[in-house]
Amino acid sequence: MNATPQTLFEKVWRAHEVEPESPDTPAVLYIDLHLIHEVTSPQAFTVLRQRGLGIRRPPLTFATMDHSTPTRTEQVFGGAPIAIEAAARQVRALETNCAAFGVELLNLQHAQRGIVHIIGPELGLTQPGKTVVCGDSHTSTHGALGALAFGIGTTEVGHVLATQCLLQRKPRTLAININGALPSGVGAKDLILAIIGRIGVAGGTGQVIEYRGDTIRALDMDGRMTVCNMSIEAGARAGMIAPDETTFAYLAGRPRAPQGEQWERAVQRWRHLPTDPGAQFDHEVEIDASTLEPMVTYGTNPAMVIPIGGAIPQRAGDPVFEKSLAYMGFAPGQPIREHPVNVVFVGSCTNGRLSDLRLAASLLRGRKVASGVQMLVVPGSQQVKRQAEAEGLHRVFLEAGAEWRESGCSMCLGMNGDLVGKGQYAVSTSNRNFEGRQGIGARTLLASPLTAAACAVRGRVTDPRELM
């Protein structure tokens, strides 16, 4: 069989080399699935038009709208216009471009629409061993199914449309081995925040991470996607998890997954993907999951993170650190617990899937959102929304006093009208706590859905284990 043992990444990479890299030229890599959305695609279509090019393989490109779309029902379904005119223009541009170039689009009212990284796996478009790209850095999410998935810029979106290929230098590999059972109240989000805290925001630069170990094996697909989603927050090119029975059970029967005999053959192929025993990674990191606690960020990048019972670190004489704390309105040495909270956001491609909503609802059931706190729950896709409603989760949120919206990126980034006010503290299940990410002057604390729900109930930063 194979002379040299290979990693999962190497197997997928090699299978997609149209031409391997040489000292002078990068590899030409074939792309199996290209996802596009309204924000990073218009300029790529402009280039196609300027150069008189078409799309090489239209069935391999799939479009949705999520970033700049509103989440208020009346703007999505009620005939009320999209409030932000420039956003409405982007949505129209995507509709026009998809119609002109023959790309399948899930438009604003489509029952399967949602955040691009939620719907790819949900529809079964994302599959083990595929190369998946999108003009969006959180494309790393799809790696949870054993795909090689990474974010690209708009110029590269144009390259894939025109040639179905990309020029890429082969990244290095980083194994993160995670073992031990996650304690109660600690989930996939806490795990990935702890990993980023450990390796830093540039710790994965130039590398593809493979998450390995029994903790990862024990995670369901939603949790695995949460972990892979934030690979980019550690600077990594992509994050991957080897496919296993959990992956196959998740994909079986999904509308765009192979069916019948083709399914059997696909599973056969996918079983060969996991990293061979003895394969070498360029770097390895070990994590003990059994000692982790709920994590929360206190600063303006995701590596500025502490266990929720901890105190904000002191770094005297570091002006960048001081600037970040000044923005957040925090003092070194201050405990983060009990700090007042103004807004709670549950949603995004990190934590907008059904099991995330179940976790948040489990804590909110029979409780109320603290007075003066705004809580927004935004399902990651219309399908997640319907599933949650079938289970009655929306009633739990509404009865607690939270808002229940249509799917989209919403408050994860400030471009669709869902904003955190200046100086306000938002506990958010999203992935970026950068300055101004959720609105000008907004202060973001990243946390898990459980922690976010606990903070909503108490109106203060709260360890969810106190309410469990």
């Binding site: 000292p23 030409v28 150069r51 541009a93 990410r437």
Partner: protein
């Protein structure tokens, strides 16, 4: 793309580490459907006060920064999103090179496609540049060196193909289209019709 062989300019210095793409161009400016005109929104939340007036203490608003084409930033520049609007905003503003100790992968890739040269230097050179804002430096792509006014020259790494494209104004799309026969052969072999 215009070929770039050498750049010579005074530096503008932003001594902040981990500058992310939301700082370079906040999301509310991403609703555009063109590439042009983003320079006025570059670093918008740092550059302008709440009333929209330029903040006089922001480095790019100082008179000395006017006309600078080389930006020196703190450690690890460009992390965050894949928005190509970030290099579009920087080049529209007038920058042709960004210097740091580390540059995020997607941002670097996007920069190269827009004639913005990513220059990664060693910590000592970086410190000198941060401490000497406005110094006249030159960047030579032929030799991949950055030369300080002290005469000290530092080599920087630049992927050979990217360097070739920058120096010859070649775009990657043309190269990829030229691989048509190989791509067709791959598709035939993989059963993609």
């Amino acid at each position: 793309m215009k070929p770039i062989r050498t750049l010579r300019s005074r530096t503008a210095v932003l001594a902040v580490s981990d500058i992310d793409t939301d700082q370079i161009i906040p999301a509310r400016f991403l609703t555009t459907t063109t590439r042009e005109g983003l320079g006025k929104h570059l670093f918008a939340d740092w550059r302008y006060g709440p009333d929209g007036a330029p903040k006089t203490d922001f480095p790019l608003n100082r008179p000395q920064a006017e006309g600078c084409t080389i930006l020196v930033a703190g450690n690890n520049f460009g992390c965050g999103s894949s928005r190509e609007h970030a290099p579009w905003a920087l080049t529209d503003y007038g920058f042709r090179a960004v210097v740091s100790t580390q540059i995020a992968d997607i941002f670097r890739s996007n920069s190269l496609k827009n004639g913005l040269v990513p220059v990664i230097v060693d910590p000592a050179t970086h410190r000198w540049l941060l401490e000497n804002a406005g110094a006249e430096v030159s960047i030579d792509l032929e030799t991949t060196t950055l030369t300080l006014p002290t005469g000290q020259a530092t080599r920087f790494a630049l992927e050979p193909f990217a360097r070739y494209c920058l120096m010859n104004g070649v775009d990657e799309l043309g190269f990829l289209l030229g691989r048509e026969a190989r791509i067709a052969a791959y598709e035939a072999h993989a059963g993609i019709a």
